[in-house]
């Protein structure tokens, strides 16, 4: 593993400036094949308890996280990232290895821990805040600003069960924002709520970061990783695959996902559809026909999507959406619009879709989400891959717009017209 190269001999508190030190942390779970819970089962099947599997959830993970760093942990479902988070939070005890933390750690494995539907917002806020590490006195002091932040001033005496789920999430998130810890461990909580709430989440994270807090974010969302994180780490099957620049890690994450995609086992992240087609790969090419994640602005570029048909198909509709770093769709192309008769395909056939366009996108980071749909009016999804690949547009000045279209500018004065080309 990556970490064992340097951490073998290190022990004791970390150096100044390191907020969190993880050294060769391993964790295995014993998974009994049949959960033996009652005396009768024990008496009837005295040897059955022996039958168990060991799942290595974490293998010698080592990482030093600097004070004030915004650090992302990414990986597929079941890769071990939540287990790592729970070890860092002190909820699981690692089998081997050491974890050192500086200052107060607040884990947010789930929003609203300890919320009780039969209690009022006030009681719930106080309980939740105490669970997350505030003293009751501090919790009461911050109560007003918690309610204000959640915009629930009019509903404080309402029982939580009468809250909408959105209100509950707002309340829970507000408590989280007000528990001031030095080290925040955040697990996927940003994936909830509407877009306005998400923006608020993001703003709060940026504020916490500006305060100099150290933040660990576990997520599937590569856009969030690239936007927020100073560094990121990719975990797969309990092994640390790579650590470093968020863009590289995101790319690696997509590769790991793609590599596994054809296989039937294991969950696939951000994938939807009925499975009658499978998107095997998706990449960008520059004008020379090379795979590239860096596309020069204003030059021809291609999106390539490789699809394996899992069932016979008549005129399927291939398409993709390119989104910018803020998640806004800037370009959507579907074969249906330009070439409705895509053809007949047999099960097992592999198709490569090739879309050429001039890269007029503004300088910045983008991701591509390809999809395949059935033909006809229903257009059911055959397969969809969210953010299957990402690329940067480089080589022009930042204009601030979403696209830089070829254009001309002229200035008209009363008598004369002066032209300047672009």
């Amino acid at each position: 593993m990556l970490g064992s190269l340097y951490a073998r001999s290190v022990s004791g508190p970390p150096l100044e400036g390191i907020a969190l030190a993880v050294r060769e942390v391993s964790k295995a779970f014993r998974l009994p094949h049949e959960q033996v819970h009652t005396l009768k089962e024990r008496a009837l099947h005295p040897f059955r308890t022996r039958s168990e599997e060991t799942l290595d959830a974490l293998n010698e993970i080592s990482i030093d996280i600097r004070s004030g760093e915004f650090f992302g942990i990414v990986g597929r479902n079941g890769s071990g990232k939540t287990t790592l988070m729970k070890c860092l939070a002190g909820i699981y005890r690692p089998d081997t290895g050491e974890i050192w933390a500086r200052g107060r750690v607040a884990p947010f494995i789930e929003l609203g821990v300890g919320f009780n539907p039969d209690l009022t917002a006030r009681d719930n806020v106080l309980i939740n805040a105490v669970m997350l590490g505030l003293s009751p006195t501090h919790a009461r002091e911050r109560y007003d600003s918690i309610i204000e932040y959640a915009e629930l001033e009019r509903f404080t005496e309402l029982k939580l069960k009468n809250y909408s789920s959105g209100m509950q999430v707002r309340l829970a998130f507000s408590v989280m924002v007000h528990v001031d810890a030095d080290l925040l461990l955040i697990d996927e909580v940003l994936a909830v709520g509407d877009s306005a709430f998400q923006r608020k989440c993001h703003d709060s994270l940026m504020a916490a970061r500006a305060d100099g807090r150290t933040i660990l974010l576990v997520t599937h969302d590569m856009n969030a990783v690239q936007r927020f994180c100073d560094r990121a780490m990719l975990i797969d099957h309990g092994d640390m695959i790579t650590v470093g620049d968020p863009r590289d890690v995101s790319r690696r994450y997509e590769e790991v996902n793609m590599a596994r995609y054809g296989r039937s086992d294991g969950p696939v992240v951000a994938h939807a559809g009925d499975g009658t087609a499978a998107i095997l790969d998706c990449w960008m090419e520059d004008e020379t026909g090379e795979r590239s994640a860096q596309l020069p602005h204003g030059r021809p570029a291609r999106v390539r999507v490789e699809v394996e048909m899992r069932a016979d198909a008549v005129h399927p509709n291939f398409g993709f959406m390119i989104t910018d770093e803020q998640g806004r769709g800037v370009l959507a192309i579907a074969s249906e619009a330009t070439k409705p008769q895509s053809g007949h395909f047999n099960a097992g056939e592999t198709v490569t879709v090739d879309v050429a366009f001039d890269c007029v996108l503004a300088v910045g980071g983008y991701s591509v989400s390809p999809e395949v749909r059935h033909s006809g009016t229903e257009r059911r999804l055959k397969d969809h891959r969210e953010n299957a690949t990402s690329f940067d547009v480089v080589g022009a000045a930042v204009s601030g717009g979403m696209v830089d279209l070829p254009h001309s500018i002229s200035f008209a004065r009363a008598a004369t017209v002066e032209r300047t080309g672009s």
Partner: protein, 284 residues
């Protein structure tokens, strides 16, 4: 830059029965206990009154049965007080241990999502029931005042057996809550044992009844810590009209058995809970 960079590094070793800051431990225990207590009779018309009414109603039934039908009470001086003390103390024990059994499993969402000293869970159950005990003891005091029993110095010693009861109930509760996580049979088993203890302990009769029946049986019954606690509480409250624990057990030396049992059970409960605490979140 991080303003907190100078904070000392702390090793994170995972959950334990007791860990970290004692103030946080206390805050958590009290917060959970109060919530528990608030929710216990939540939604019922009488609300908190039930915590007082429940043992009083049980007392009422037992009183009618044993003073009007079976007539045990006729030969006992101050039978209502003797009975009430027995009911209140035993109810506390049954409540704490019964609630503790499922306590860790019931709080699964907390145990799996937050790091906190695990001992908080059974302790908060004991504290929550102690609020009820305090209320019920007020009821006992009212009864005592109403029945014209004169105050005596020995009342000052009453906190001792009550403290022993709280320690015993908490210790047994810790043991049960830790065992229940991996062995769910503990639930029904403890129901039966608890019912058995009700009859094996001098709850609706004074220990003299067993001693009258057979000296050996009475001595044996007095090895039960609950019998010692209830008997001694009655003696301290009512004076010599009720046998003291040491006389009933056949000498002060014999009291070492129930005292030893209290300490042993509590130590065992703590040891088992402490041993299982780090892995409880995974076993759930």
């Amino acid at each position: 830059m991080n303003v907190h960079a100078e904070a000392p590094a702390r090793r994170i070793t995972g959950p334990a029965a007791l860990s970290g800051d004692w103030r946080r431990f206390l805050n958590l225990t009290m917060t959970l206990a109060l919530t528990d207590w608030k929710l216990r009779f939540f939604g019922s018309v009488l609300g908190y009154a039930w915590s007082l009414l429940r043992p009083l109603l049980l007392f009422g039934i037992l009183y009618v049965v044993f003073s009007q039908i079976v007539r045990i009470g006729d030969s006992v001086e101050n039978y209502p007080i003797v009975l009430l003390v027995g009911v209140v103390l035993f109810t506390y024990f049954a409540e704490v241990t019964g609630d503790c059994v499922t306590s860790v499993v019931d709080r699964e969402s907390l145990v799996r999502k937050v790091s906190f000293p695990r001992m908080v869970v059974p302790l908060s159950v004991a504290v929550s029931s102690s609020f009820n005990l305090a209320l019920n003891l007020v009821a006992v005091a009212v009864f005592v005042a109403a029945s014209g029993v004169s105050p005596r110095l020995s009342w000052l010693l009453l906190p001792l057996p009550i403290l022993a009861l709280i320690v015993l109930a908490t210790g047994v509760g810790m043991l049960l809550s830790a065992l229940y996580v991996s062995l769910r049979d503990i639930g029904p088993i403890w129901d039966v044992i608890s019912q058995g203890l009700f009859y094996a302990s001098p709850v609706f009769f004074p220990i003299e009844f067993v001693l009258k029946f057979s000296d050996d049986l009475g001595r044996a019954a007095m090895t039960n810590p609950l019998a010692t606690i209830i008997t001694e509480s009655r003696h301290l409250l009512l004076g010599d009209s009720v046998l003291g624990a040491s006389q009933a057990a056949g000498g002060k030396v014999m009291l070492l058995i129930p005292l030893g049992l209290i300490l042993a059970l509590t130590a065992l409960g703590f040891w088992v809970f402490n041993r299982n605490a780090p892995r409880v979140a995974e076993a759930l």
